[in-house]
């Protein structure tokens, strides 16, 4: 992932191709429409293939040839992955597909179309917008609206809090453990994986909040990207609440194109699996992402295949009276999958995935004999406790938001209390923010 100024030409290339493709698709009839759509898709997917997947595929091809004792004559490309490539490519593709489906008029104004692809708040990490939602907004006139601007600023501050106070703090532990998992026992592997689940949520949703907030300050409304995903009661529900702009993209343009659920059951399962496999690959050219996507595909298929049996089981043991159990199970499954998302390579991921549980009996033995099971994991006890408190605080905020939006509650508070809360938030950012940490995780995609 890199920002190389000359790579702006790639963006320029896809903009020009998709701009004209949109106009030609709209003006064409029958097979010609499909031809122009396919041209546009080839251009977009081609750019992704070259910059994101070429070396990965070549590497795997080499590995395959090596198995037969042959050398790979195809050279590797010395290129870097342009920042945010997958995001703006998908946004551009959604435009030509929507024009093809007749749900969006082709944009004739080149500047406005370019702005649709390059709109800065969401250019590098989404939300991946749809033309129906965004394009028309560029033609509207926005007057200064105090409430809208302050609401956008509040959302940005909340996003900043999630990023620098929670995500980057948790990242210290996660980086320490995941860079040398062999050094740590099961408990620490669990803590790091648990922390990563919240790190990636706060990192990515924090960015989305800042992007949506920044757009809102200027008068634009972007789509919601996260909706309290860790309160989901199933993996299926999780995907309706996590990275909504991407999951709906895959639903609208891939899953439904494959036939969705209006096919035979085996084919339906296959469609689901393909979607999650591609979703994994979208995140990165690495087997870890492919396994992560496949794991989610497997979760969903397993859940569908065992739905009746599980319902009977839950009814019999009265488990359906405790929905919190479903929340915990879903969180555990999602967190387990995150191991593959976070680990640097497949070997590391499998090491963690296996050792996270196998060391538990040993831990219990140690705990029973009053031996310490804690190891130094790159942070002080105070920071560790603070991290847990922050996660609890985050989920409390999410819980409160279930009934009424936090901003609505704020607006009802007397000014003194509201301002005290603002000051508290800023002071917490100032005192507990990690300001020399990494950039956003999703920038690499």
């Amino acid at each position: 992932m890199a920002f190389v100024p000359v790579y702006i030409l790639i963006l320029g290339f896809t903009i020009v191709v998709d701009y004209f493709a949109g106009i030609y698709i709209e003006g064409a009839e029958g097979k010609q429409r499909k031809f122009f759509l396919i041209l546009s898709l080839i251009a977009n997917v081609g750019v992704l293939a070259v910059f994101k997947y070429y070396n990965f595929l070549n590497q795997n091809f080499s590995f395959l040839l090596h198995g037969f004792g042959l050398n790979n004559p195809i050279p590797y490309l010395a290129i870097l992955l342009p920042i945010g490539l997958s995001f703006h490519t998908f946004q551009a593709m959604s435009y030509t597909i929507e024009v093809y489906r007749g749900r969006q008029k082709a944009e004739r104004h080149f500047g406005i179309y370019s702005l649709y692809v390059m709109f800065y708040p969401q250019l590098v990490a989404g939300p991946i917008e749809r033309p129906q939602n965004l394009l028309h907004q560029f033609r509207e006139r926005f007057d200064f609206d105090y409430d809208r601007v302050t609401s956008g600023l509040r959302l940005m501050a909340w996003g900043l809090f999630k990023k620098v106070v929670i995500a980057d703090r948790l990242g210290i532990v996660v980086d320490t453990v995941y860079s040398n998992p062999e050094q740590y026992n099961s408990l620490n592997l669990m803590i790091a994986t648990f922390f990563f689940s919240f790190q990636i949520f706060c990192d990515f949703s924090g960015y989305s909040d800042m992007a949506i907030g920044a757009a809102q300050v200027m008068g634009f409304k972007l789509m919601t990207n996260f909706d309290k995903p860790y309160q989901s009661k199933s993996v299926n529900e999780f995907w309706k609440r996590w990275h909504i702009s991407l999951s709906t993209w895959f639903r609208d343009y891939l899953y439904l194109s494959l036939g969705g659920n209006r096919v035979t059951i085996p084919r339906w399962y296959l469609n689901l699996f393909i979607v999650f496999l591609v979703s994994g690959l979208w995140h990165g050219a690495n087997w870890t992402f492919i396994i992560w996507g496949s794991l989610h595909g497997f979760y969903l298929i397993f859940a569908l295949a065992t739905k009746n049996g599980r319902e009977r089981f839950n009814n019999f043991f009265l488990l359906n009276r405790f929905p919190i159990l479903s929340v915990f199970t879903t969180f555990a499954l999602v967190s387990f999958a995150w191991i593959f998302f976070r680990a640097d390579d497949v070997n590391t991921a499998f090491y963690i995935a296996t050792h996270i549980f196998t060391g538990v009996p040993d831990l219990i033995k140690k705990a029973l004999s009053h031996e310490s099971v804690f190891q130094a994991i790159g942070t002080s006890k105070f920071d560790l406790i603070l991290s847990v408190v922050l996660i609890a605080f985050l989920e409390i905020v999410h819980y409160v938001q279930r009934k009424k939006g936090i901003y609505a509650i704020l607006n009802e508070c007397p000014k003194v209390i509201r301002w005290s809360i603002y000051y508290m938030l800023l002071l917490v950012i100032l005192f507990f923010g990690e300001f020399n940490q990494s950039s956003f995780i999703y920038f690499q995609f």
Binding site: F144, Y146, T150, L153, L426, L430, F431, F435
Partner: protein
Amino acid sequence: MYKRLLINVSILLLPLVAVVLAVNIKVDSGFVINHRSKEIAEILVSGANAGVKYIPSTFGSLQTAIIEERIRIHDLKKKDIVVFGTSRSSEVNSEIFPQNTFFNCAVPGGNILDYIALYGLYNSNHMLPKYLVISIDPWTFHARRAVTINKKVQYISDPSSPLVADKDLESNYRFGMVSLGLKEEAQRKKNARTLSPDDLIQMLSPDYFQTNIQSIFDKMVIKTDRNNVDSYFIIRSDGGYSLMQQSQIDSFYVKENSFKFIDVNKSNFFISADTSSIYWSYFKKLLINLKSHEVTPIVYISPVNPIVYEHLSNSLRVDLEEGIDVFCKDNNILRIGSFNPNKYGYNYVGNYFMDAYHPVGPVVRNIFYSHRNELKDLGVIISNNLN
């Protein structure tokens, strides 16, 4: 409406900015705007050691400033033994030489141009010692460039660039160059004691604020007779210092750091690359000139961590050390130490190295002790206390 927003945002943010600014200026734990070199020099002149809360980010320049300050207040009387070196030789201290007066001018990251500047400083003050220990480090003849690797600033070799001399010692550098009959002009480092836009931005940094707030009730500079004080970095009155206490060494960090060092510093172990040959000639000139002033030069090389050396010796020849060997033999100059830790029995990491290239105090003392006979022949007695 705009006005209301502006006023509200100002009311919200300005007090916070003011607090950050006030704390950062008042505490300034990194010595960014308040360099305190005079305060530290005065402590050292009194014969005590000085402790600073953090290793200042500009410690290289601070150290030269302290040395200059000490000389200005006529503290550094002519000594028997002086070290021109870097952090790798900062553990050479007066206890090793019980029968001689001693001072260590260990400037972190120092290179041959800094040595010439120190030579100019000593020569112009008529304080050249009887014995001058000159430390050779991988970067002595190479320019280095600061890069960020894994979010940390590291220095990588940049053999094609000219070396940079410390601006604090500029006049001394010029004097040194003239004394040695050299004309080559070097680039100057930024004078660390001049405020730059970066320094001012640092004063608004929330990260710096967090560091400062933790030390708000601590003394930034203390006077002490001890060599170790918890959570303070000690500059000894004899000029030396320890980058880390033995108890702070993290063997896991040492290993990790070693591999990073190998990757970015390989080419530092050569003198043949590009500009380094010019500076190599400066070095030879300096040694010969010292001899003409009846100063006995002693070339000292601190070992690197065994992990680093093993990797180097497997993959390439350390021709810098070979070149020094040949030159010292030809000119009858005593050379002690080696990049190779095995020569002194340090063939595993243990707690002998605090990172990839900084040996701990006992290692340095042992190296001098191993050469006690050769040093005795020169008239220098080495202490047999190795701890």
